[in-house]
Symmetry: C2
Subunit: 340 residues, 2 copies
Amino acid sequence: MSSTIAIDAMGGDFGPQVTIPASLKCLAANPNLNIILVGDEGVLNGMLVDALAKYNDRLSVQHASQQVEMDEKPQSALRSKKDSSMRVAINLVRDGQAGACVSAGNTGALMAIARFVLKMIPGIDRPAIISTLPSTFGHTHILDLGANVDCTAEHLYQFAIMGEEVVKAVEGIAEPRIGLLNIGEEDMKGNEQVKAAAKLLESSSLNYIGYVEGNSINAGSVKVDLIVTDGFVGNVALKSIEGAAKLFSTKLKELFSKNIFTKLAAVVAYPVLKLFKESIDPRLYNGASFIGLRGLVIKSHGGADELAFLTAIQLAEIEIEQGVTRKISDKVAVTLENRG
Amino acid sequence: MSSTIAIDAMGGDFGPQVTIPASLKCLAANPNLNIILVGDEGVLNGMLVDALAKYNDRLSVQHASQQVEMDEKPQSALRSKKDSSMRVAINLVRDGQAGACVSAGNTGALMAIARFVLKMIPGIDRPAIISTLPSTFGHTHILDLGANVDCTAEHLYQFAIMGEEVVKAVEGIAEPRIGLLNIGEEDMKGNEQVKAAAKLLESSSLNYIGYVEGNSINAGSVKVDLIVTDGFVGNVALKSIEGAAKLFSTKLKELFSKNIFTKLAAVVAYPVLKLFKESIDPRLYNGASFIGLRGLVIKSHGGADELAFLTAIQLAEIEIEQGVTRKISDKVAVTLENRG
């Protein structure tokens, strides 16, 4: 079965310089993939002469006359950029012409437009952002990463229900182990929302393992597949880990380039250091899914290079193939029926 | 001028096995330091025969018949452990016999007892926990790390005032650069408390530089000396960074011990890897100060080894010498006068 992805070709810090080569690599790798590149057709067609011929009906360009700026306010983008590459790409998802949209553009604008155009899945109050990080056990999925700064227990519970479907689909795990992010593992710890969410999760059919702390994202004492938290905490945790990774790589580089002896050591250790770099390469974890909407939207890091953007497209491919949006809708419908 | 520190000798995962050797090293290093070891005098005297003779009036043992368990509920410790090593050590601070107390015991119990025994500085609503992390610019201090799960803007503002005095004292920086932790740097980002706290900080005399994101703790684009946040977010950020550090060191170790070639590479790279490990060694950042109380309490990591516990004692030495508690009280008094 073929999948079609709409790419916001103009989004991100590098626009078509990154989105086009990444798209072409994905087309080459997956013969069942179709891509619609959305953006200024003058620019895109000029860069795609050979590719359009090569991929024929698997690759097309959809014109969009506007572009959402990286620092544009979401409300302004929503009101005045109705023909932006971002909006047109999301429209293609709404109209069923694409199974997902991938954009490296302005996160706030992407969320506002996606929510406005696609609407919410009935039963879900708020969309959430979910992504993956490496852990000593493999991967940890975490949500919400910034869509919601204040969350009730019910919101956190809904995130768990949606997140479980994503983890099942992406990791192929039957019953993902779900943890609730807190500042201690004891019952008495945490704020009111978290304590109330724990009660909802305990009485649900989800494989809820209890409270987990921040270290569980990358290296906890027990495996956790999905960590649920509000968007403020999740975003801070994600960025704190990014900062830690940058500190470690900066220090390592600094120490290995100190003098002739350390530089020689770096040469000898190069194969290992290369594997190390690859094993924690954030580009291989690029791509956050907006879930809770009636259509798939994948947000790539704005500064994504070709490899990183390609990773985000591949995530979209998997989530389309697995029918993540439908699975979430079905699960929500069943869960709501059971409750009411 | 001499300083006296009361050590909860029984606290932490290893008790006197760690607290005693660390204390003796500090006594050897600082001739102006006096230490009172608090705990079971039978146990302590037995381990201190030579040291008590050597350090004479600089080292003493204060008997305490009880011990707070690592998993004991704070309220239970507060009510039923009135002769615990933790409580007696804090009493010594209240009575002016010690300038600070250092404990590796149960955090919740330590905070509850410290608050009950020492009382708050007038004008401060809640105590906070502050600690230091390495950054590409040197160090970043961050508070609150878990004392308060829900904070108003006023609480965050008070944390900034207190934290500034700690950073001035510990780092010798005249006007520490203060950032407010948020999920974006734009004005519109964040929850209501954070937005309101930003207004208070902007109109204060503090060197407030604006919102910072999670990555600024270890490696932001601009230097920030003090990051202010609530205890839930601060605790998650701190532990997320701990998890990232553990993941990186685990991966590095794994890759270097893969086969005979990588093991040889590890031998060649050993001096650099050793320096790397030291440069991010969490033991050198051990010690979190409870501030806002009428006396100094330093919390060491429960699993601290000798080096880590020694670091926490040294932090207490600096904060006593610098008169951090008095400086906070004075600043709070002046700030309150100016406001009202």
